[in-house]
């Protein structure tokens, strides 16, 4: 089993993403965007990591979405192989139409707008720990294959444009009906309230991650590779009580990579 971690010019999370995959016993390699795209077919799954592909020129993810590797990824996704897009990877998947994957380009990830008590209190880049509630059923999505519905995962985020918007007034209802909303921002008890700081970027219905109708493509704004080890958790997290302990101990983000591994095993 081997996955490709796609590296575009400006990607900046590829090495830690590969470390996270390997810690979940998934072999992999960094795949530069300008390699022959057909070589992607040799891999069992794909991660598009975070960063600023092409310096976010034009729009976050817009230029990378036109690269030949994305066309090959579309073909590989149609065969059922898993793809996980993290942060900028999610933006690329949305710009390419692979997510939510119900037509063409069905949505956009716009600038963060933090709203509290009907007032805009902040806009733009934000970096913080957040809690995600897994809202899809177990086995619905390749990237959360092992995660139960309702499970909470503390995972950090860092982005300026993660506010899911759409001009299609029926899209969000369809995503809910089809069980395509995978993660929502919530508080530590699992409550999703619409105000900042729980809804950390103003995303419609607190949506933090979605999958395609088939469930093999996942996009999420938070960075699971940044909570892949227990030592990466913030000091106030109970899991970190008593010091760093075992440096290899897993953090909540590893569940994404373990899920991807299990999905590939089941699929094979």
């Amino acid at each position: 089993m081997k996955i490709a971690v796609i590296q575009f010019p400006g990607t900046n999370c590829e090495y830690e993403t590969l470390v996270a995959a390997k810690s979940a016993a998934v072999d992999g390699e960094i795949f530069r965007w300008n390699r022959p795209a057909q070589e992607l077919c040799d891999f069992d799954g794909y991660v598009i990591p975070g960063g600023f592909s092409y310096q976010d020129r034009l729009r976050a993810g817009a230029i990378a979405s036109k690269e030949p590797v994305m066309e090959t990824l579309r073909e590989e996704a149609e065969t059922g192989k898993p793809i996980v897009g993290i942060c900028n990877g999610f933006q690329i998947l949305v710009e390419s139409g692979l997510l939510p994957g119900v037509g063409g380009v069905d949505a956009a990830l716009a600038q963060n707008v933090m709203v509290s008590k009907n007032q805009i209190v902040r806009r733009g880049f934000y970096c913080a720990w957040t809690t995600l509630r897994h809202d899809a059923s177990r086995n619905r999505c390749a990237g959360t294959f092992l995660i139960e519905k309702g499970e909470l995962l503390p995972i950090p985020l860092a982005h300026a444009e993660g506010n899911l918007v759409t001009a299609d007034e029926n899209l969000i209802d369809r995503l809910n009906e089809e069980n395509q909303v995978v993660f929502r921002y919530c508080d530590e008890e699992g409550n999703s309230t619409p105000d900042y700081p729980v809804n950390i970027n103003g995303s419609v219905q607190n949506i933090a991650g979605i999958c395609n109708p088939e469930g093999n493509v996942l996009g999420m704004m938070p960075h699971p590779e940044r909570s892949n080890f227990a030592w990466q958790l913030p000091a106030h997290d109970p899991a970190k009580k008593g010091g760093l302990g075992d440096l290899d101990a897993s953090g909540p983000g590893r569940r994404i990579f373990e899920s991807m591994k299990r999905y590939i095993e089941v699929r094979i």
Partner: protein, 160 residues
């Protein structure tokens, strides 16, 4: 009254080059796209009774333009573009936080009490090869819809 500031880089514009390369090398516009330029457009709505709009435009430019690397052209109300390219304006149709912040800073921090509103957009200048049989506006529309905008947050408008 609306004061328009068209701002462009004096140094090479990497974003414009990237968009041009993507259109030519990735999207098949090599035979029709000769070149591509980019301008930022600030459209600042001010009180109609402003005494010296040209001076006001210069004062706005002092705040919004870095003349070490950028040039600008100011005009009142209407925008006039040269021949030879199709200007395509792209702006957000959702709330533009940067435009709102700019308006508030001009008005509340920098003392421009006459500012009523600020709009921010990008003007893409598409230099098209006109030897083909296709209408340049049709090509520009296609380019805008395929690359320059995401319709879920942006809109476009041909300015000429």
């Amino acid at each position: 009254m609306k004061i328009n500031l068209r701002v462009w880089l004096k140094i090479p514009d990497a974003e414009a080059v990237t968009v041009k390369n993507t259109l030519i090398r990735r999207m098949g516009y090599g035979d029709v796209l000769a070149d591509l330029g980019k301008e930022r457009l600030w459209s600042i709505e001010v009180d109609d009774d402003v005494e010296d709009p040209i001076d006001l435009a210069k004062r706005f430019a002092k705040e919004l333009v870095n003349e070490n690397k950028e040039s600008y052209l100011a005009s009142m109300d209407c925008l006039v573009f040269d021949m030879g390219y199709v200007p395509v304006k792209v702006a957000l149709h959702i709330e533009d936080g940067e435009a709102i912040t700019t308006r508030d800073r001009l008005r509340n921090r920098l003392g421009f009490d006459m500012v009523k509103g600020v709009e921010r957009s990008t003007v893409w200048k598409l230099y098209l090869n006109l030897e083909g049989s296709r209408d340049p506006h049709e090509i520009a529309k296609e380019i805008a819809e395929r690359l320059l905008i995401n319709p879920h947050k942006d809109f476009y408008e041909m300015l000429a």
